[in-house]
Amino acid sequence: MTEKLKNIRNFCIIAHIDHGKSTLADRLIEKTGTVSSREMSDRILDSMDLERERGITIKLTPTRMFYTLNGEEYILNLIDTPGHVDFTYEVSRSLAACEGAILIVDASQGVEAQTIANTYLAIDNNLEILPVINKIDLPSADVEKCRKEIEDVLGIYAEDCPAISAKDGINIDEVLKQIVEKIPAPRGEIEAPLKALIFDSLYDNFKGAICFVRIFDGKVKVGDKIKMMKVDKTYEVTEVGVFTPKMQPKEILCCGDVGYICASIKNLSDTKVGDTITNADNPTKEPLPGYKDVQPVVFSGIFPVDGAKYQDLKDALEKLKLNDASLKFSPETSVALGFGFRCGFLGLLHMEIITERLEREFGLDIITTAPSVSYNVYKTNGEMVEVSNPSMLPPPAEIERIEEPMIKLDVYTPPNYVGAVMELCQDKRGEFVDMQYLEKTRVVLKYHMPLAEMIYDFFDSLKSRTKGYASLDYEVYGFAPSELVRLDIMLNGEPCDALSMIIHKDKAYARGRQIAEKLKIIIPRQLFEVPIQACIGGKIIARETVSAMRKDVLAKCYGGDISRKRKLLEKQKAGKKRMRQFGSVELPAETFISILKTDDND
């Protein structure tokens, strides 16, 4: 059995976004003949439409490959990982299931923010790191400079690291060879009680919840009684198997293996990612360390456009949560939007991905409110409440102080944009901490900044001010007191809760005016004049008016051509379906998110 372990390599690929992770994964799969060329499609591990379209990896996707070196056959288990900052959590999940990581660095761009962040994550997980320089086919590729950067910035020996082109299939063999030679074989006791880590899960309508596992000790086969240690539930195994990358049933999974377990698990919440599976009859004493629970940092209300679809939305969120443990949600009621959910996300991209998946995979029409962060509100009676929904902010008289989440922000930029980046950070209430030259052409600027400023168009502004050259990384480090107020928007004299926001008092006036102007454009003319007012604590700071509609269409109805009128009516009816009734005012669904987007003249 140790013979078998010796020939297994479990690894993942880490990289900054767009450095070619999925392309390398494709090449490895192709080179090892795991998938026939007929089945081969670009970015084979990115199975979601969304992933392929946006060219990003969101979910972990494991696959098993065979590779022969010096007459010995090896099983290589690859777990693909996401690269974006929002998905650091998912990366750490796959790292815990591996012994090694391929670190891809783009030969023309060198070490980037996420390269560093993910490398540290891998080092923290005691993984063997195997640097690979990719995209050497590009004219701007500078392999030697890249090698030096890996050694200088990351402190990883890179003298013999493979220089490859995943796109053109150059030097892929060298990567496979080094995986076998450099990444350690898994360790584990086949005779010890079962110890398997759930690193992901998926819901299948026929098989129930499927656990993606890495077996650390022992073995598991069909018919075994297994126990989820944290949730304390027992099941009988109905199927075990590996990923080819399609799921392929096997008789048994042994220590060192990466595979899946089905056990007719009906309840999604029983397969908690990070939990340890053991044998119910012969349990292990100590569960695996698992993962730390991640805390969402960005919050937003999600409501069905059609109020009757509340239950559908709930089911969809539950299904998504099953394999995205970082998604948090709880019921919320809004005067303007009815019943929905307040959802917590790891970041803005995460929020965008979730809303898009709700719309595409579940066919739901949803309304999203402007994202917010969670504030610690200290009341005069000594109590502290966490407020992530602006409309829940206690009255000003009851508030002693409000603290907002702060981030440590690193912006990586070419030196000629330092001025522009500093200006932006200052504008966003950032506090300068440090500036370092990583090398002649790259500077890192360190700031302390409120998270709330980060979620309000910071990324877009940064990209536009640096022509796309800057990248960033951030981490929430704590809370700091701040002079915050609630900005309310009143429509036709009624405060619209879904449009309220918590904002720094120095920025409230400008934002209030900006939002009122924006709403005037978005809200269509109605039967009545609609006054739009922005106010802080009852004081009106901006006012705009949507004048009343005077005419829609008085079409001539000729020769009994009713169908023409009907068409018009149907069109208007469909438009109305997408409207939200707020008092006597009808609001288009996009009203609630559009106030977040800034205009060019901002």
């Binding site: 509609m549 829609d552 008085l554 009994g560 051509d561 169908s563 009516l569």
Partner: protein, 370 residues
């Protein structure tokens, strides 16, 4: 016995106006012959003496532009194929250029008793802008001629929102007309896609009258006509001394009508169908009506959509008989609309107030069943 109205479409014109996108055009005499041959066949194909015709409307196109023998033949054919009610209203559309004393006599002889004349404006500059071939003098002469020939039920079409039109010009047109006609249809000019006028607007060759201005013209005209005893009985239609167009009114009351000719629509016994819009296809293919039976909810929707356009509004009892208890189902909306003077509920009917017709569609949308 079933009462019905009849619409006949004549797709021929001597020239095409710049704003027009109706099925009409300039065709050879040969095509006209073939067309009427087919048209009469269609009438015969639908012949049924159990149908009592309450009104006939010959529209177009410009029905007055064709030789009146075609019209006479057509009317006679309808009289042969259907039962005709004693007080039948028979309208023909005409333009000022093509109306002659001879044609008018022929019309009169075959029992046509109502004329609808496409005056559009009495301002020569406005007429030119929209590509009408007649002048103010010609229009007035045509109306006078019709009156001399014994027509006392005459409608004049007037357009609101012609490029360069001012309220003054519009009012002067109306002022002159209302002394000579019994009915005025005032339509707002719609810039239909693919018309020369719409292209000219896009190329900045002509300037449109903006929407708000159009509405204020319209509102003022409504008041003015009211003062002169022309009552608005439907969004665009005004009649003196209750000389309402029965045919027109029938459309808004969801009455039966049979449509004959290219692009004509029919609504008969709850079924809707229409002919092809291609004249050659009409001439050369078999009659093949694809009938769509209206569902109950479509009937409710159409009754609301059409009925609210008229001064009689919609009848609450009739809605209830269709299964829609509007007073209960739309209580909030009705209260809101009534308290803000958009509508009133009078004698079991919901009626849109005179000055709120501009937003009629919005009102309709609020009252449709969910």
């Amino acid at each position: 016995m079933i009462e019905t109205m009849i619409y006949v479409h004549i797709p021929f014109c001597d020239s095409k106006c710049l704003y027009c996108n109706f099925v009409s055009g300039i065709y050879s005499e040969e095509i006209k012959q073939q067309y009427f041959l087919k048209l009469n066949k269609e009438i015969e194909y639908n012949a049924n003496k159990k149908y009592i015709v309450t009104s006939i409307y010959i529209g177009g196109g410009t029905p007055s532009s064709i030789d009146s023998k075609y019209v006479v033949e057509l009317i006679n054919n309808i009289f042969t194929c259907f039962t005709i009610k004693d007080d039948v209203e028979i309208t023909i559309e005409a333009n000022p250029c093509s109306l002659t004393r001879e044609k008018l006599h022929d019309y009169k002889n075959c029992k046509i008793n109502r004329l609808s004349i496409g005056v559009q404006s009495l301002d020569n500059n406005c007429l030119k802008k929209i590509g009408r071939k007649h002048t103010r003098q010609k229009a007035l002469k045509a109306i006078n001629l019709a009156r001399q020939c014994g027509f006392n039920n005459i409608n004049a079409d007037v357009l609101i929102g012609i490029p360069n039109q001012t309220y003054h010009k519009l009012k002067s047109t109306i002022k002159t007309l209302l002394k000579k006609v019994s009915h005025i249809s005032a339509y707002m000019l719609i810039n239909e896609p693919n018309t020369p006028l719409t292209r000219m607007i896009a190329n900045n060759e002509v300037k449109v009258v903006d929407e708000d201005k159009c509405v204020s013209f319209y509102d003022k005209i409504v008041k003015y006509l009211n003062k002169k005893h022309f009552t608005r009985y439907e969004v665009s239609n005004f009649a003196k001394n209750d000389m309402i167009c029965k045919h027109n009114m029938g459309y808004w009351q969801c009455k039966n009508y049979l449509g004959f000719g290219v692009s004509s629509h029919s609504y008969f016994l709850g079924e809707r169908y229409y002919n092809t819009s291609n004249i050659l296809e009409y001439i050369h293919s078999e009659f093949n009506y694809e009938k769509h039976k209206l569902t109950n909810s479509e009937k409710i929707e159409e009754y609301l959509m059409l009925g609210l356009r008229t001064k009689y509004g919609v009848n609450i009892e009739k809605l209830r008989s269709l299964g829609f208890d509007i007073l209960t189902a739309k209580k909030t909306e009705l209260d809101m609309l009534a308290s803000n003077d958009f509508i009133q509920i009078l004698d079991g009917a919901i009626i849109v107030n005179n000055d709120k017709f501009g937003v009629l569609n919005q009102i309709i949308l609020k009252l449709l069943p969910n």
